[in-house]
């Protein structure tokens, strides 16, 4: 459990308590309490895909000489490396900038769908009606990550934080802020 005043960056910056960040619509006196990202273990799929693509490129290098000249093989390898690095970068950006932000005044969900489409959902703390945290399955229990659903009053948009670390702690932080 983090000290109430100290910064804390845990789990590869997927659970950041009182981080030194600013976001676009932040108010003058608004303080960032918690920044949440998807648990790093949920990124395993694209990490594994990266290794598979690297192995594929190495294997293809044994087949290429039958069909292509040396210059062509060099170009294919350079392009392959560029593609792999771009794949890593794309997935990292997608993970890093899809954040949930809890401040002293609001709860904000910033989503970049496929990096290109931006969706920002925000709600004031006094509009929060109910906070539910869910953890299910072996992986989620073992690595302690899950979903946090924030229900708001009336026609305000509900907010969901998917696959975030320590969903119970997140729920507790929100309850502490709304005085519940």
């Amino acid at each position: 459990m983090e000290n109430n005043n100290n910064q804390s960056h845990q789990l590869l910056h997927s659970y950041c308590f009182r981080p030194i960040v600013r976001f676009e619509t932040q108010g003058v006196n608004e303080q960032v309490i918690l920044i949440l990202r998807a648990h790093p273990i949920t990124q395993l799929q694209w990490v594994i895909n990266t290794f598979i693509i690297i192995i594929l490129l190495v294997v293809l290098n044994y087949i290429f000489p039958s069909f292509f000249s040396l210059r062509q093989i060099i170009y294919i390898n350079i392009f392959g490396v560029a593609f792999i690095l771009s794949y890593i970068w794309f997935n990292f950006l997608s993970w890093f900038f899809n954040v949930g932000i809890i401040t002293s005044e609001r709860i904000i969900d910033v989503d970049f769908h496929n990096v290109i489409y931006k969706e920002v959902t925000a709600t004031k703390l006094d509009k929060v009606e109910d906070v539910t945290s869910k953890t299910g399955g072996y992986f989620q229990s073992f690595f302690d990550y899950g979903n946090v659903f924030i229900q708001t009053a009336g026609t305000e948009a509900n907010i969901e934080f998917m696959n975030v670390p320590k969903p119970s702690d997140v729920s507790r932080v929100i309850h502490d802020l709304i005085g519940g």
Partner: protein, 78 residues
């Protein structure tokens, strides 16, 4: 009337020409992708200003540079 000999290509030359065309096209696509991601990284950095945001700018610029290098290589090397 003599029929002039038409130029003939062997298989290797055809593969080389097709490869060069595809290499230029894919490199151009990669460059466009790099520009889009660079622009989108700016939007993302604006949405969330972290401590080391300059690193994102450097990597995005490097990606564009790699795209330019790929196009040049496709034209010159291949």
């Amino acid at each position: 009337m003599e029929i002039q000999n038409l130029p003939t290509f062997n298989t290797q030359e055809i593969i080389a020409i097709v490869f060069k065309i595809l290499a230029i096209i894919f490199s151009a696509f990669y460059l466009i992708y790099a520009f889009v991601i660079s622009k989108q990284t700016e939007v993302m950095n604006k949405a969330l200003e972290a401590k080391n945001n300059s690193v994102f700018f450097i990597i995005s610029s490097a990606q564009i540079t790699i795209g330019l290098i790929l196009i040049i290589l496709a034209i010159v090397l291949v």
